[in-house]
């Protein structure tokens, strides 16, 4: 009986740990950079997203010994 209760407690704790871990896996970042005096209204704003980081393919596609690829795409500008 004690063994069953211990197993249930351990499983419940593991379940809670997994839920907490999942809720803290938000790896998304969105950062704005405005160098110099570019903060005025008449500025070009480039929005870029990192789409992929591919170290394996990049190693020979880019012909660089350690050439991973990061794809960045300017999305919109105004």
């Amino acid at each position: 009986m004690v063994l069953v209760i211990t197993a249930l407690v351990v499983m419940t704790i593991a379940y809670a740990v997994m839920l907490v871990a999942f809720s803290s896996t938000g790896d998304g970042t969105r950062i704005s950079y405005t160098p110099g005096t570019s903060a005025g209204p008449d500025r070009l704003v480039i929005e870029a997203s990192v789409l992929d980081v591919d170290p394996i393919r990049g190693a020979y596609q880019v012909a660089s010994p350690t050439g991973p690829r990061a794809r960045c795409g300017p999305r919109t500008a105004r």
């Binding site: 790896d27 704005s32 005025g40 704003v45 960045c72």
Partner: protein, 199 residues
């Protein structure tokens, strides 16, 4: 665009300078950037990716520009910082990418599974050999493990080709120990069979 601008990005493959005329909408662009990093350190590899964007008008005067960088990849954690020499019309970023926490935990978990599997196998084979009780099921389970080890290695997320740090820490060692166990168990099984043969 309210005026004609020229954008210069240090990427691979596209035109060095793109010109966008006034009145035009700026199209979407896919860019490939170079990076430096050592993939063999998987799953602890880090890659540095520089991004340099310069924006000019027709007269080559810098145009004030800002950048909003977004990164939400599941398998990579991307951070970035602006270099101090950024200026009006010149955005210089240092982007850094390393494996996400989920990928690292999963890869390390599989390495631990492989390690424990080999330790248990060594104990099992040593016990069976010392008691002279190596049976055909023992040999079959060792053969299955021999084929399962590369499968476990390849099931690590986004795993690079063979030769990474994780291979040297666990995979090669596990494969070697399992093979030795298989040979020892097979020899023991053959000797036992020879001894038990009725003359």
């Amino acid at each position: 665009m309210t005026r004609t601008v020229q954008i210069e990005i240090d990427d691979i493959g596209s035109e060095p300078v793109e010109t966008y005329d006034a009145g035009r909408r700026m199209p979407l662009h896919d860019l490939s950037l170079t990076a430096s990093g050592d993939t063999s350190l998987y799953p602890f590899d880090t890659h540095d990716i520089p991004l340099e964007i310069s924006v000019y008008d027709d007269a080559r005067n810098p145009v004030p520009a800002g950048l909003v960088l977004q990164a939400s990849l599941h398998d990579w954690h991307v951070t970035s910082s602006m270099r101090p020499d950024s200026r009006d019309g010149g955005i210089l970023l240092d982007i850094q990418a390393h494996r996400s926490v989920s990928v690292m935990v999963f890869a390390i978990g599989l390495m631990c599974v492989l390690f424990l599997l080999v330790v248990v196998t060594v104990g099992m084979v040593a016990r069976a050999v010392s008691l002279k009780k190596v049976g055909f099921p023992t040999l079959a389970s060792l053969a299955a493990l021999l084929f399962a080890v590369p499968g476990i290695r390849n099931s690590m997320p986004n795993t690079p080709p063979v030769g990474t740090l994780s291979d040297f820490i666990v995979f090669f060692w596990a494969l070697l120990i399992t093979t030795v166990c298989m040979v020892v168990a097979s020899v023991s099984w053959l000797r036992n069979a020879e001894e038990e043969r009725p003359d």
